[in-house]
Structure formats: C-alpha cells, structure tokens
C-alpha cells in the first residue's frame, strides 16, 4: 500500500481541494443571492461561467507547475536523496506530520473557513465601491472579471501550496504512490465542498469531519514517530554500515540499545508484508520500536491534546469577550465593516473576525 497510496499526499490534496471548493461554493452562493436568476439571468450565467473559468485556469497552471516540480525532482534530485534515504524519510515524515497537524485543526472548523472566505470575498467586492488608487482601464478590467480572478487566484494559491507540500512530503515516497492518492484527495475534497455548498445535515457532516480528523491525526502521529525512528535508524546504519541492511528485519537490523520491542516479522519494509506496510503508513507501526519512536508518538498525542484543549478554552474565552479581542486586531476596522456588508446575506460572521489577517 505505501507503494500505491501515499496517505499524507491524500490528505494534503483533500484539504487544499476542500478549501478551494469552499471558496467556489461561497462565490456561487454569493452570486445566487445577490443576483438571483430572477434579476438578470444572462449576467448571472456569465458570472458563474467566469467563476468556473477561473477555477479551470487555476487548476491548469497548477498542473503545469506540478509537472515541472515532479520533473525536476525525479530527473535531478532523486539520487542525492536516495543516498541518505533514512535522513530524508525522517525529516519529511516529521515535516508532513507538522503540516497535517496544523491543517487538521482547520478541518474541524470548516464552517469557520466558510465564514472566513465569505468575509474575504465581500471585502474584495466591496473595493469596487471604495476609491482605490487603481486607474481607469485596469480598475475596470478587474471589476469586470472579479468573478474570474478571485477563484483563479485562490485555486492557484491553494494549488501551489499543495504542490509544494506534496513535493516536501513525498520526497521519500515512490512515484507510484502519488496518482491514486492525489485523485482520491481531490475527489474527496470536491465532494465535501459540494456537500457544504448544498448545506446538508450539518451534524452528520461534523461527525464525518471529526472521524476523518481523528484518522488524520493518527496518521500524523504515526508519521511523527516514524520520522524520529528513521533518524535514529539513519544513525544506526551509519554506525553499522552494510551489515544493518543485510540483516533485513532480523537481529542486527536495529540498535538493540535503543530497542523497546522488536519482532522478527511484520516489518513494513519487507516485500510481501503488505498488511504491515498499510499499518505502517496509517499508524506508524514499526516491527522494531525504539525509545525515540515510542516517546515521540506519545509526546505527539500529548501536544495534540494540549493544543485542542487550549483551542477549546480560547474559543470559549473568545465567545465571552469577543469585542475586546476584535478591537485588538489590526484589521478589525475592515472586518467590522465587511461584517456589516455581508450581513445582508443573513450570515453571521462575527467569529471569523479574528481569522482575517
């Protein structure tokens, strides 16, 4: 399974695609509400088309960048990474774990995300009215194609973010593990985005998000532990040389001084132990656990627990004294203003104030 499905890649695609689809859905909802078909069918149609063109163009450019990055990586950089495989695996696993962890929290607050984008879009649209120092033609052009530029820029931004993350996370992974993970991630992201747009059952969506986040954090914990393991293994291979590799999964393949457990079976590295490979990429299973990998796994969860408890506590506090917090924000003026503007849509955006940078 690690050879055909890179779990971190899946989640990165999922997350970025979800964000993009939320933006698109917000835009579409906005269009629907401000100029519904009863108002001006042709203008609505044109603007909706603009949105989709923007998305399309963004995706296209992303694909080109993606191809370029992958091309350079697999032609130029591969060998230098392979010679120190364990180091790279370790570094990228930890990096991926951190990225997933940070992204994961946002997934639980997708509705917040929705608000955030609503706010941003409203701000941009509002600029039409304001006296910006943009001159004649350009201003006119941006006004005319705002519905194209917005999704185009966001898709491009999310897309490049995804490509860079995947490049970072995926360096240690075989090329074959990418396509399926990318497709599944994009599909899942789009699907959730669609569900959000449709505004279906919020509670079941939340349950779904909780479950998938739990899963995401299991993966991240595994990656973190595996990253530490890989770095330790690198140190051992440096010490023991060829002998460590020759030993396969048996005695001598691991550093007994740091071993917490070692079973001579179930190695995720051995071909044919496919099940253990899945176990490894999902939960970071190692047939040879070290003090480092076990302690880092537990510390990771400790950090996650502390982090979420803190977030929960902070949100509770923010709910109690929102005004003071909002005032201290540098962009609070804009936000308040935007809040008023978008409130015509009947959406409450207050909680999103803090998120605007």
């Amino acid at each position: 399974m690690p050879n055909v499905f890179a779990v971190p890649v899946f989640f990165i695609c999922f997350r970025e695609c979800l964000e993009t689809s939320i933006i698109v859905s917000v835009l579409l909802a906005f269009l629907k509400q401000t100029l519904g078909p009863e108002q001006d069918a042709t203008v609505h149609k044109r603007l909706v088309r603009q949105v989709w063109y923007g998305v399309g163009a963004g995706v296209f450019i992303c694909l080109i960048i993606c191809a370029g990055v992958i091309g350079t990586f697999y032609t130029a950089g591969r060998n230098s990474f392979e010679s120190a495989e364990n180091v790279w695996e370790g570094v990228f696993a930890i990096l991926a774990s951190v990225i997933i962890t940070l992204m994961g929290a946002a997934l639980l607050r997708v509705s917040k995300l929705q608000d955030k984008w609503r706010l941003k879009i409203a701000k941009v649209l509002e600029q039409k009215d304001s006296k910006l120092p943009i001159k004649g033609k350009l201003k006119k052009w941006t006004e005319k194609y705002a519905m194209f530029i917005l999704p185009f820029i966001t898709v491009l931004r999310e897309g490049i973010e995804a490509v860079l993350f995947i490049a970072g996370v995926g360096l240690g992974l075989p090329a074959t593990s990418f396509p399926l993970a990318v497709l599944c991630g994009l599909g899942a992201g789009a699907l959730i985005g669609y569900l959000i747009y449709k505004g279906g059952n919020k509670t079941s969506l939340q349950i779904f998000l909780v479950i998938s986040t739990c899963f995401l954090y299991l993966v991240a914990a595994g990656l973190f532990s595996k990253g530490v393991w890989s770095l330790e293994q690198n140190a051992y291979v440096k010490l023991a040389g060829e002998g460590a590799a020759e030993a396969g999964a048996g005695p001598g393949s691991y550093d007994i001084r740091k071993s917490v457990w070692h079973v001579n079976c179930c190695s995720p590295l051995e071909n044919g132990d496919g099940g253990w490979g899945i176990f490894n990429s999902l939960f970071g299973w190692q047939n040879s656990a070290t003090y480092g990998s076990v302690i880092s796994y537990n510390l990771y969860w400790l950090a996650v627990i502390v982090g979420f408890v803190f977030l929960g506590w902070k949100e509770g506090k923010a709910g109690a004294t929102p005004v003071a917090e909002a005032e201290s924000d540098a962009s609070s003026g804009h936000a308040e203003h935007a809040g008023k503007k978008t409130s015509t849509e009947g959406v409450v955006v207050g909680t999103a104030v803090k998120e605007v940078k």
Binding site: V210, Y217, L218, I256, V260, W301
Partner: protein, 585 residues
Amino acid sequence: MVLSLSTFLLPISLLASIAQCATVTYDFDIAWTYANPDGQQTRPIQGINGQWPIPPITVTKGDQLIVNVKNSLGNESTSLHFHGLYQNGTTHMDGPVGVSQCSIPPGGSFTYNFTVDQPGTYWYHSHEHGQYPDGLRGALIVHDPKDPHKDLYDEEIVLTLSDWYHDLMTNLLKDFISIANPSGAEPVPQAALMNDTQNLTVKIEPGKTYLFRIINMGAFAAQYVWFEDHTMRVVEVDGIYTEPMEANMLYLTAAQRYSVLVTAKNDSNSNFAFVGSMDQDLFDVIPAGLNSNVTGWLVYDDKKDKPAAKEIEAFEPFDDFNLVPYDKEGLYDKVDQSITLDLKMDNLNDGANYAFFNDITYVSPKVPTLYSVLSTGSNATNPAIYGSNTNSFVLGHNEVVEIILNNDDAGKHPFHLHGHAFQVVTRSDEAAGFFDPANTTTPLPATPMRRDTILVRPNGYIVLRFRSDNPGVWLFHCHIEWHVASGLIATMIESPLDLQRQLSDKIPQDHWKVCQDANKPTKGNAAGNTVDYLDLTGENKSPGKLPAGFTARGIVALVFSCLAAFLGMGVIAWYGMKPIKTKTG
C-alpha cells in the same frame, strides 16, 4: 647361547634409541618489535628474542621439547600452543588459556616441557584471546628418521602462508565484536605473505626433488597454492603420512598443513612462479586495491628473470577427502559416543554477532577447565560443572567418538581438534543441509583421511571420528581466529578420572604461579566454587539472548501509545463536536 646373546643385545638397542632422543630447548623472550613484511606498512609485531619472523621450532621425533617462555610484551598476556601435537600425557602443556593453563601475564614466565612423539609438519602459536595474527606464530617441524617417503626427496623447504593485517588484533577485535558490526563481517586482511615476506625466491637445482612443508598459519584466509608447470605429490597432511597423491592445486584453510613433493625440471632455462591466493569467498567486501595473491619463485637460474604469475581460469583445488593415510588405519565403524554440534551465527543482547554450537557461544570459564578436572574428584565426569557457556562434553576412555558438525552458516569454517587427528568420515558438498544418518547413500571410506584441521563447506556438514585414547582437555574449534573470539568452541574432556590419576600433583609450579599472579582461581567448578560443584553462580557468561518479540517494556510502551492515541482522539472529538460559539452582537 643364542638366547643369551639376544637378551644382551636388546638392552643395547634400547639404549641406543634412548640416546637418540635429545632434549631440545628454546628460550623465547616474547616482546613487541616492528616489521613491515608486505612492504606496505611498518607495524608493531610480537617477536621472539627481538626477532621477527619468529624462529621455527625443529625437533626430531622422540625428542623432549622444552620452551621457556618469558612474556615481555608489557601490555598483553600470552600463551603458546603447539598445533597438532597430541600431548599425550601432557595436556597441561597444550597451551590454550582458560583450558589447560592461565595466561602468562606481562613479566611472567612459563615453561612448556613435553615429548614430541609424532612426525610431520606443525606450527606453534599464541592461544591467548585472538593474539597470534599479531605475529606470534611460527613453524614447528618434527623430523622423522623413519619417514617412509624419505627416499623420495633430496631436500626439504618450509613454506608458510599467512594473511596479514596492518592493525593490531586488539583494535580489530574490538570493532569485530561490536554493535557496529551486526553481521559479524570479519576484518579483511591487507595482504598475503609467504614465509612472512612477499616475492620469495627459492633456489632450486635441476633434477632434484624437494619436500615442501606448506603451513597456513593465517588468522582467517584460506589460500589456494599452486606451482606453475610443476605437479605436487601430497605425502603428508597435518602430520599424517599419506599415500602419495598428485595435485595441481591445494586449498589450505587456516591451520592446515601439507607436505608435497615437487620434482624440479631437468634444465634451468627459466624460473617458475608459485602462488598463494587468499580465498576471497571468505571476505565480506573486497576492498579496492587488495592484492589477495602472494607470489614466490622457484629460481633455477639467478640471472634469468622471474616471470609474473600467470592468470588462471578457475580455482580447482585437490580434494583432500580422497587422501589415504600411509598406515591404512581402517574406519572406526563402531561408534561409542556421538556428539552433534550445530553451528550458527547470531546476535546477542549487546547487538554484536557471535558464533554458536548448539545455541551456546563459548565463554572462557573462571577456572581453567583442566584445573576443574583435577580439583573436583568424582564430579569431574559431570559436564555441568564446566560451565554453561563452555560446550563441554565428557568422553569415556578409549572409545570411538564421533563428531557430527552441521554448518548452519553460509561461510566456510576450518575445524580443529586439539590432542587428536580425526578420521574424516563424511564431508558434504555446499548447501547439503544437516547430516541425516538415514539419508547417506555414499559408502564411508575404508581408510579415511586423518588430519587435525578440516574444512566444512557452507551450509554443509562433516562427520569426524577419533579414538579417545588421550586423556586431556581438548578444544574443538573453528580456526578462524575471529570465530574463536566470537565463541565457536567446544570443550572435549577426555577420560577425566584417568587424567586425575595421571596429572594430580604433576602440574609444575610455574603453571600455578601465573594463575596466582593474576589472582585467578585454580580450583572448583567453572565459577570457582569449591563447595557445590553444580552451583555456577558468578561464572563467566555471554551477553544474554536478544529479547524475543514483546517484552514487558514493549507491552507497556504499546499500551501507553494506544492510550495516548485514544485519549487524543477523544479530545479531538470533544473539540470537533463542540458547538461553535458565535458572536451574536
């Protein structure tokens, strides 16, 4: 009258033969010196009387040999073993440290004194922890006035072969048995030597026949040996005369010896190379620039050039299994005691790689095994008292003992038995698996080859037999010095009660003294317990076995990890399902 004459003559002939048996004395002051035998690097070497190469010991069959050893190394203890000599009645002179003596500490002295009653080609070397490759090994030749082949040759030439390391054994051993070497890859030598040099020249006269006594006194590498355009006739193997047998190429493992007849050409038109080539199969990696060959020349004419050794297409050595002993001693077909030794390599709890017989890696006992035999009375017949890490077997007196050795390792191993030459009854090809008596179709040889060091092939087996007619404590071990260090040793305790009768109060004072000087116990079981011989508390032991699978700490770690994960997911669920607070202002 006739009768009275014969009774008169007999004592005279006896007297004559006694007079023939001389006492040969060597005074060896062992100390560090420097040498550069391969022309690549000068290194510290253990020499004797300031000399290296160390002198050969030469005696005649029946001589009493006295070697007075003084250890002037300063930083290492030592001992000497006389490889291949049966030491019948003098097992305490055999030399292995921790078996028949304590080591000779720096500054200590020790006398080896025994009668050599066997002819042939032998060698002597340190039998202290992995020491002899530092230079302390030399030839030991026992001449025989009654050599059955003596009319077949004109002159004899001793030719020693050796691998050669540039680093000291103490350093190499430290790296070898270490967590940094989990596969147990043996250090690869830097060069091969012939008579402790390279580019050796041997003066040859046309038409003469020479007896080459070839000895591999290397630490590790076996060597292929051949003489270009000359055929060899094997006449002795490890001290056993054989029916002459032609050979184009020999294969000598560490510690093996052959005597071969080489008849010179009748003209001196050119000189001929002879080559020793280390068996690279033994090496884990072949370093760039390693010359595993060493060349010498049969020099018929000094003025003619010495041609470089020719490339050969393949190594096709002579199979020693086919040799027939000159005395035609028949197969011991009735086995009284059979010992099976399964060889394997594995890692222990310190992460290093060790060698095992029947899952036990040898660790030297606190009390030399011989001294345990002599101090435990009737308990000496119980193998348990000799320690749980010594692979001890007690042999009855004058019985036919069989050793079945199954090599569960992918390497070649030369096995040596102290105190005996054994019949090589069966030797399998490579990868034959374990010996199965029910499944051996080939008939056993009627007059099997006898020798004291035998090669067992990778993942193959050997079956050896010998008569336990030599009371003593005899090691059976792999003669690759690395594997001696990693524990590939078994102890044969032969007729312990006879040994007690033979040697009680006969151990010389200097033997006890080296123990006393080093504060080593000399009585009791392997742990030095003189009260309860079965109580081995405090004995020397190997590092423990690697933990198998999940131990307590593994389970604790796994449970904690699972708990942490579930707790973490619980917190995520709590946060995720929390109603999002909204500002209602």
